[in-house]
Subunit: 296 residues, 2 copies
């Protein structure tokens, strides 16, 4: 039932191929780099440039820490609010990785997202992985929930396609979107939030199927109930259940550290179309039911 958590086999993505411009020599080159800088157990993420939207959030921060156990090249954290002490802490975790923070609110217009990404691409030249993790859980705030959880994620994804899309001469890339188990089956007391996460799951599944056109692979990581400050207290829709947070936490949950460990394992598996269910410290790839087929 649960995916084996064995050591991932390094895989080659579109970006890597184009960045080095010498696909036939890639394996040789890759192995040299891997030997020089990386431990065997973290070779997939070794030397990668990763952008992490909301990398200082509850799940985000522990996932950033977990990522920094691997020898990335760059970890660019985009978050709404700068938290210099956390960024300093992250920088000290692994001196081999360059950690950068840049402020970013995912609800800005698409053009603003593109501007910010241009700065990053100008500096790093190539970006391997974009993690879209901005999210809020407050069903009193309808517009904000949808704007952050769905529209913001779609806009950030659309913005990076300017740099990644192989039809534009880009190198492709890997998109890791944070969904939620509520996107599969809702927490009914927060229907607005759950709906926004269903949108993320559905959207990302499409993107995975478009990878042969765009060169961009995509998957979701979908945490189960995780003990974050987000979940400790939140508003239900029209206060249908004021104690929703307490009720949820009466059932088995996972820590942010457990979630983060599964999260990075999912990234290392690098499975296009993966629908990762991260619950109680386990990692499982869900098979979505086929209700109909548009046949195109």
């Amino acid at each position: 039932m649960f995916a084996k958590l064995s050591r991932p086999v390094p895989s080659i993505n579109f970006r890597t191929v184009t960045c080095f411009r010498k696909p036939r020599q890639l394996n040789k080159y890759y192995n040299i780099i891997a030997r020089a800088n990386c431990s065997a157990s973290s070779s997939f993420l070794c030397d990668k440039n990763v952008i992490f939207v909301a990398g200082l959030g509850d799940i985000g921060l522990d996932t950033s820490k977990e990522l920094l156990k691997r020898d990335l090249k760059n970890l660019v954290i985009l978050d709404r609010v700068d938290k210099p002490e956390l960024v300093c802490e992250l920088k000290e975790l692994n001196p081999k990785v360059k950690v950068t923070f840049m402020p970013y609110d995912v609800t800005v217009p698409l053009a603003e997202s593109k501007k910010l990404l241009k700065k990053i691409f100008d500096k790093l030249k190539c970006v391997d992985i974009l993690i879209n993790g901005a999210g809020i859980l407050d069903d009193h705030k309808i517009e904000a929930t949808i704007a952050v959880n769905y529209t913001g994620l779609v806009n950030t994804t659309t913005a990076i396609m300017d740099f990644w899309d192989i039809r534009k001469g880009g190198p492709g890339g890997i998109l890791c979107n944070i969904g939620s188990v509520t996107g599969f089956n809702a927490i009914t007391q927060v229907p607005v939030y759950s709906g926004s996460k269903a949108a993320v799951v559905n959207f990302t599944r499409s993107l995975a199927k478009l990878a042969h056109i765009t060169g961009v692979t995509a998957y979701t990581v979908n945490p189960g109930i995780t003990r974050t400050s987000l979940v400790a207290k939140f508003n239900s829709w029209l206060d249908v259940e004021p104690d929703v947070a307490e009720l949820l936490l009466e059932h088995p949950t996972q820590s942010t550290k457990e979630c983060a460990a599964s999260f990075v394992k999912a990234i290392e598996k690098n499975k296009n179309g993966g629908l990762w269910f991260l619950d109680q410290g386990t990692l499982e790839n869900i098979t979505w039911k086929k209700y109909w087929d548009p046949c195109i």
Copy 2:
């Protein structure tokens, strides 16, 4: 596999009970009304007050016509653009039904939606059914797609709860949301649209499960590919497939009339939590897969 399209049994909803204020006498009263005004085959919708958001749209217009084969009391059509000739046509279809048009853009703030609904409730006193049908299909327009298809639907729903929620002394009501089969499995070439419809499906399923708290029952009608002007030509996301419309229409589809007939049959079935799949002239109630359970 397919739901039987037999004559629906009249059912009594929360609103009806409260509107008449004499629940024990309801059946008697209901039967008198039914005998006086309604044909036997359309008794569920007989004497009902229905608000139809986007009731002049492609699927909307034919569904309005189908509704008008039943002896509703009022059909209040809310749409972004007034089309007086179509409203006149509808008015002439069934003189027993009072057809009204009021302009409404679902992207207005929640307070505006509430104001408009207050006007309607002040006039009609009670509303039995709200049909949320506003939708656009254009993946070049990310913000608009999400704002209309999901945020607008959530806001209109939230607005009517002021008048329906039994916790506020309201009578309950019936919510009919137009989803789409793309909310089950996407048309991958329009991931933004498909995602927005997945949100509608997930959101509405939650509302159905909250009916014991709010008194408001809910279901979705999810048309398959229907030959509308919407589908005749539309933009794919980042033009991943410029011929998406043509490709879709190469496969079996249904006419708006077929869709409308199934639509009204679904309304007459009045099934809380119904997940109606309307495809090629058929009507089926989908069973959603259970991937996890929040246990609350």
